[in-house]
Symmetry: C2
Subunit: 120 residues, 2 copies
Amino acid sequence: MSRFAPRPEPPYYAVIFTSQRTEGDQGYAAMAQHMAELAANQPGYLGIESTRDESGLGITVSYWRSTADIVAWRKQAEHAAGRAQGRAHWYAHYELRIAKVERAYGWDRADGTQPGDGGS
Amino acid sequence: MSRFAPRPEPPYYAVIFTSQRTEGDQGYAAMAQHMAELAANQPGYLGIESTRDESGLGITVSYWRSTADIVAWRKQAEHAAGRAQGRAHWYAHYELRIAKVERAYGWDRADGTQPGDGGS
């Protein structure tokens, strides 16, 4: 399964979650997997991209059709409980940003450069 | 130095760059460091967050005051050359999204929950 989110037509919304993990798993991996599965079943979910390096610095970006969909996900009971566990055990620090995606491009080695490709 | 970007008052802009590295370094690490230094000296640069896992899946989010600042960075000559090298050598696939940050929160274990904290 691709670790890249689909590329719907903008506008849509991104939740950018940058976090530093505490030491040890403490049940994190299982809960993170469960939260990703819950999110994927929420209305308005468009996709997710997530990675974390060996130092525990991770960035997860989830994509949503609307801010109302993000609010509904925030209010989802298991998700709220998971966030509380995150603050209690799993995270040393995090930053959360909600952003409206206005433009999106992609490139694949097999396809070559896409129109409007801007790189970063 | 913190790997978290500062938390300016929204609105501001995020460039979300998700990429899969090819095998081997091929000069990537040195160029990535140089590009980060160049970006930090561009007008309107607000900060950057970047991480990559052992499989080579990376997410870099750079933050900018305005879309005009992002366009200027895109046009910066060394950056344009670096992107071309990225497509030639370093990346198997990438997705690039430009998004307007509308809301931002942060949390730190030492400080406890911030007002409006929304988790992920």
